[in-house]
Symmetry: C3
Subunit: 133 residues, 3 copies
């Protein structure tokens, strides 16, 4: 019996991987047709939805690494981000520029706490749907 | 007595660092003379070898952050990757473009589970040879 | 009662987040007016100070992801780095190039071990001052 829990497993990646009470996941906008603001808003909403899959929420974020295709989108990012992060519960955050797949403006790498230990959660390993291509 | 285990320690980095049942390591191709496909194949093989050092394998990958020197190598990456990842055990994965040291086409940052707790493994802290420059 | 400990919490990020005995933090130079060497020296000193906040030191580093605005600063980075890392305690390390906010030459993403478990430390969650903008 494994101590690793995977949610939304595809051939290429899992939407979430949980181990020892820590969750690892990566988000890009489901709809990359939108502009930077639209994509950041999507990614933040997707993080909420992902966290809910294993009983966590925004207050459980540990670290977020943000890759922007263009750092000049940082203003739009921060405006949405600052209103999204719960007061007193901000994660560690890095933000750098990196070229992303065509059309994508933002990619976030998230580490979050799972309230119950990874082995103790009741989330089955095959729930959740992958919505990245 | 430390709870941190380091494998392949050099002056600049350790090949693997294990703490609380989680292993952290970074791979670039041992031979950067090869093209992107050759370098990705090397890195994946190096990950296998590294995981074996502490009794884990590909099914224990938690998260992989992939830096490609050129995102247009993504097709070659994915073809090798998809055949390498064990069905049902895909890690969380991010892939962005970043300039790397001259000649290098890919760098991977790996987080993996250690089957026994970090403190409980029998791997001595000085095994393994560093093969990065 | 939460098992997550945050130090230097601002609206946008926390200076350090600790969970399950692992600390996550990100450093850029407090004074980005300095050149690459000056900024690397600052960041390394800031890491020392940050680690001390929760009773750890350089021997507790697990992984450091280094983003350089210009990889040609790698020589200066390595000279300072090699003298800073304690012999036998080098972390896992990645180093890639990424555009950073204007003026910044280096950004480091750090994962470190906390000597006592996150829940057992006596560090209050509100100590430490954020010194990033």
């Amino acid at each position: 019996m494994t101590e690793i829990q995977r949610i939304g497993v595809t051939r290429r990646w899992s939407d979430v991987v949980i181990h020892h009470g820590t969750a690892y996941f990566v988000e890009v906008a489901d709809d990359p047709q939108q502009d930077a603001t639209g994509q950041v808003a999507q990614v933040l909403a997707q993080i909420d939805a992902r966290l809910a899959l294993f009983g966590s929420d925004r207050t459980d974020l540990l670290q977020v690494l943000i890759y922007l295709a263009d750092l000049s989108d940082g203003g739009e990012l921060n405006e949405l981000w600052d209103n999204w992060v719960p007061t007193g519960h901000a994660p560690s955050r890095a933000c750098v520029q990196a070229a992303l797949s065509p059309g994508y403006r933002v990619e976030m790498v998230i580490t979050a706490a799972v309230r119950q230990s990874g082995q103790g959660t009741s989330v089955p390993p095959d729930i959740g749907q992958s919505d990245r291509q």
